[in-house]
């Protein structure tokens, strides 16, 4: 059973600082690399000053939306302004296809995440932190629980209560307001905004929601200083490092920490060893399955929000999944659409119905029964979803599909001209089963 590769690919090591192949799971090993010293420092500072350091570092959200972390914290009212408790919920629901970094943070540097939680709690004067951890993550839950017990025993929590809450298998619960609903014991369906969680979040109280990697950066910002941090990566907007999630048809997949701004080519070919078996790269699932795909001519694009943004691409949760030239792009788009159809919470029509349409039309294209007009219908459906849903899940289904149609239109047309898939069974994604078909399928005659 192969271990996941987790490495610092390019200095500086920030999130993985001190890790070097040996997990910092117990308190002593974490303390030996300076662990919890920044918590002590933070507690000696005023909450306002801690928030200011996070603002000055320009740390931005690693959960997908890249929102400035310090600014979000500054939206939380101070306790003298509200008669309600103030909460923090850490988003450890990691379910974006292609993302596997938060899991490694919990397994390799759990105390750094906890230290970050406690620093954030001091910064916004919260006394109750929830960590909403993906329900499927068993080992991660155990490792983090053990670290928490140790931190509690060492009296590091102070007056902060920290609760681990396990999800139960629903991608949508990664969306921040769905996460809050779920944590309140309801179905995980997004809320309309405003009110924003900073004002009315968990139990209608001010709530700060951050991704695991964002929170884990906080002790580092304090340790190296916000101004130094702001120089790392691709300043001014994409500061610090990323835990890039490299997967798919690549020689050395893994979690690689590297500064924002390295090129996609460098990550895939120099760090990842390139595409195996002498195949060519066809496309990159960039940022996660929720975003447009990257094509080979875009490989020199730097991995920072602005460079990617200029090309209509997103850094998302740091996903770089390589598709080689055996991949049928229609099958890829279909499988992505099937995921979102399965995960749509059903609350709004464009998403609930639109994801179904995407699947049906893509299926017809793959089977060769669609017409050229159906490609226009496909793009039209995407257009009727994007920006018209209650949460971003709808866009997340439509954006990758639309990008496949526009960037690989010839391949779509080839399906229509040939009356079927030009790759046949040779595509790596041929006949790939999707859970959305599970109920229809079970019990049917073989």
């Amino acid at each position: 059973m192969a271990e996941t590769v987790v490495e610092v690919a390019e200095p500086p090591a920030l999130v993985l600082k001190g890790y070097e192949g040996k997990p910092l799971v117990d308190l002593d090993t974490y303390r030996a690399v300076g662990g919890y010293a920044q918590l002590e420092r933070a507690r000696a500072m005023s909450p306002h000053d801690v928030t200011q350091e996070i603002i000055d570092s320009n740390l931005r959200g690693r959960g997908g939306a890249f929102f400035p972390t310090g600014r979000k914290a500054s939206f939380i009212p101070t306790p003298d302004k509200v008669a309600k408790p103030i909460y923090i919920t850490v988003n450890a629901d990691e379910s974006e296809p292609g993302t596997f970094k938060d899991r490694e943070i919990m397994l390799k540097v759990p105390h750094r995440l906890l230290e970050g939680c406690l620093i954030a709690a001091h910064a916004i004067q919260s006394k109750h932190v929830f960590i909403y951890i993906r329900g499927e993550y068993s080992e991660e839950y155990e490792v983090l629980s053990k670290a928490l017990a140790e931190a509690r025993k060492a009296k590091l929590l102070g007056n902060v209560k920290l609760t681990m809450h396990r999800g139960a298998g629903a991608y949508i619960c990664g969306e921040e307001t769905a996460l809050l609903e779920s944590l309140e014991g309801k179905r995980g369906q997004p809320r309309s905004k405003p009110p924003f969680p900073a004002i009315q979040g968990l139990y209608a109280s001010p709530t700060l929601i951050n991704n695991v990697e964002s929170i884990t950066n906080m002790p580092i910002v304090l340790e190296i200083g916000p101004h130094e941090y702001a120089q790392i990566g691709a300043p001014p907007d994409s500061t610090g490092t990323r835990l890039f999630c490299l997967s798919g048809n690549v020689e050395r997949p893994g979690v690689y920490e590297a500064p924002h701004g390295i090129t996609t080519r460098h990550l895939i070919y120099d760090i990842g060893g390139g595409v195996p078996n002498g195949r060519d790269l066809k496309a990159v699932m960039m940022g996660g399955s929720s975003f447009p795909v990257m094509t080979p001519d875009e490989l020199d694009t730097k991995l920072d929000a602005n460079s990617l943004g200029q090309r209509g691409l997103f850094i998302g949760s740091g996903v770089v999944c390589v598709l080689d030239d055996r991949t049928c792009i229609v099958q890829f788009a279909l499988r992505v659409a099937q995921f979102y159809m399965h995960e749509s919470c059903g609350k709004c029509t464009p998403c609930r119905v639109g994801t179904r349409w995407l699947v049906q039309i893509l299926r017809a294209v793959e089977d060769g029964t669609a017409t050229e007009n159906d490609l226009e219908v496909l793009l039209d459906v995407c257009d009727r979803i994007i920006g018209k849903c209650l949460c971003v899940l709808g866009d997340s289904a439509a954006m990758p599909v639309a990008s496949c149609v526009t960037k690989f239109r010839d391949e779509f047309k080839q399906h229509l001209a040939q009356g079927g898939c030009p790759f046949g069974a040779d595509s790596s994604l041929a006949n790939l089963f999707a859970p959305v078909d599970q109920h229809a399928h079970a019990g049917a005659p073989a």
Binding site: G135, G185, L246, L323, R335, F339, F433, Q438
Partner: protein
């Protein structure tokens, strides 16, 4: 179980928040979620059984029908799919003599396909009784099944 659930509920500002951990606990007890589980969870948390059932039906980890003693969940999302997920899934179907979504007739094993499990760099990821096996190939399948059948 009711006492245990009430204890979990104390961790939260509102006891309703304990519904997911409570259903998880009930499922560990029963192997799935029968009507009795919803009644117990409901009683412990002052919720109706219907409410508890509506929650369970939303989340993928809860089983509303009897499941096998062991659970095999194969990731068939794209990163695993690009490498060998479909071949691994089919190898399990062959080895178990059932199709995905089904339970063996002796009720030992349920086979499911699931979405990305967050282990994409070591495809294919297979969760066996909720523990991840990494880099599973079709060749590994007979041994995994034998292991479950023997224990």
């Amino acid at each position: 179980m009711i006492e245990e659930i009430r204890k979990i509920a104390k961790e939260y500002p509102s006891s309703k928040s304990a519904v997911l951990p409570a259903l998880r606990l009930a499922q560990e007890r029963y192997g799935w979620l029968p009507r009795a589980a919803f009644e117990e969870v409901g009683e412990a948390l002052d919720l109706t059984p219907a409410y508890c059932m509506s929650i369970a039906s939303f989340y993928d980890l809860f089983h509303l029908e009897p499941a096998g003693t062991h659970m095999i969940e194969v990731c068939t999302n794209v990163c695993c799919g690009l490498v060998n997920a479909q071949a691994v899934l089919e190898a399990f179907e062959r080895e178990l003599g059932i199709r995905v979504g089904e339970t063996t007739s002796d009720t030992t094993v349920t086979l499911r396909a699931v979405e990305c499990l967050g282990g994409c760099s070591t495809p294919t990821i297979v969760a066996v009784d909720h523990r991840y096996r990494q880099s599973v190939t079709p060749d590994d399948v007979p041994a995994i099944v034998a292991e479950l059948r023997s224990g």
